[in-house]
Subunit: 216 residues, 2 copies
């Protein structure tokens, strides 16, 4: 199936043209980023915490210290919402009212499962590292048993998912097009700067190719 089934909770109601439910669009939004915002409740208060993620097929992995409040809360199997957003530009209309933002976002609703099997946990950590930087895993010292134990890994199935995308220029009221106001889009982009070597390096090799050619 190339489409996620929209539900009452994920169907985009406002501006439904912006809603997307196909795996291709959702995967691309998820794979372009590596920091999501995870939402969960503690005593009825919602918390929204930025955290890393990795994707493999229809599973999104979250991880963190076994001591973290977020990981402890989510390990208990409570409802979670994970959102990934890319801001692509500021849309400048001729009226204040029609100003907007170009963006791509994916929203995942569900309940995360605690990953307990050591082999699946190790594989999830590989997926994490490779999601952030393809090629890195084989280069670094891999987790010890103790490090694995200190890390909580959660798996969130991609089942109840929607994406929302706005592209293009401003849509003004007909009467406003003749106003003497500059209108259009100011594009924003995330770029990679020169890698900064660790000041404490001893025998570090030169910058690896996967880092030199890094882009998202």
């Amino acid at each position: 199936m190339s489409q996620f089934q929209p539900t009452e909770r994920t169907q985009v109601k406002r501006l439904p043209k912006r809603g997307h439910y196909d795996r291709e669009t959702v995967y691309k939004i998820l794979d372009t980023g590596f920091v999501c915002h995870a939402g969960f409740n503690v005593d009825g208060q919602p918390f929204v915490i930025p955290t890393n993620y990795g994707r493999s097929g229809d599973t999104l992995y979250l991880h963190g210290s076994a001591a973290s409040r977020m990981l402890k809360t989510l390990s208990a199997g409570v409802p979670v919402c994970v959102t990934v957003t890319h801001v692509d530009g500021i849309v400048l209309a001729r009226s204040a009212f029609h100003h907007s933002v170009n963006y791509r976002s994916a929203v995942i609703l569900g309940t995360a499962r605690l990953v307990e099997d050591p082999a699946e946990k190790m594989e999830a950590l590989r997926i994490f590292t490779e999601h952030v930087m393809k090629g890195r895993w084989d280069d670094v010292r891999q987790p010890t048993e103790q490090e694995l134990k200190a890390t909580t890994v959660l798996a969130l199935p991609l089942e109840e998912v929607s994406a929302k995308v706005r592209t293009g220029g401003p849509i003004d009221d007909e009467a406003d097009y003749t106003l003497p106001v500059w209108a259009g889009v100011l594009p924003l982009e995330t770029v990679v700067r020169e890698p900064i070597p660790d000041a404490q390096r001893k025998g570090d090799p030169p910058v690896p190719d996967y880092l030199k050619n890094y882009s998202r």
Copy 2:
């Protein structure tokens, strides 16, 4: 007072050195961005939705269509969490375990107030527009009475607030420093590209100075 008072809910417990409660740090994180992630509950399910904001003193304004689920939910006076995050770089350690991300984030907990007074509402819309692009408000057609009515504005007081910041290079285990692995930081930055004029322009003036010199 230059500091927000940490509470049981905002005190950074994991890696407390990363926690900041001073207004200067929090304001700077909020003023560098203009898209936040707002978390709220609908029937016990958390939703995390990207949305625009503006700040004036110790008030964060949110807005949107009066028809939106998020605005309708939040107008009812329910607990909300608003988080703003900037990702500054990927921290590459010699072990998979010590990989990290450099970031600045601010988390605001509270209950938003529906702004009903038309003068305050208009002022909030000015703050919005100026927060996204300083100088823009005086240039554009300002909201009509009907547009004001179609817009819901919420005010969230900055009271229960914390910031979390990670900077600098990787911290590896002592024994790992001699491993032949490149370590350091890959800096990420959001940049502004050339403005794209609206294809439907008629008598638009040249690119205004506030747009030419735009940075965040």
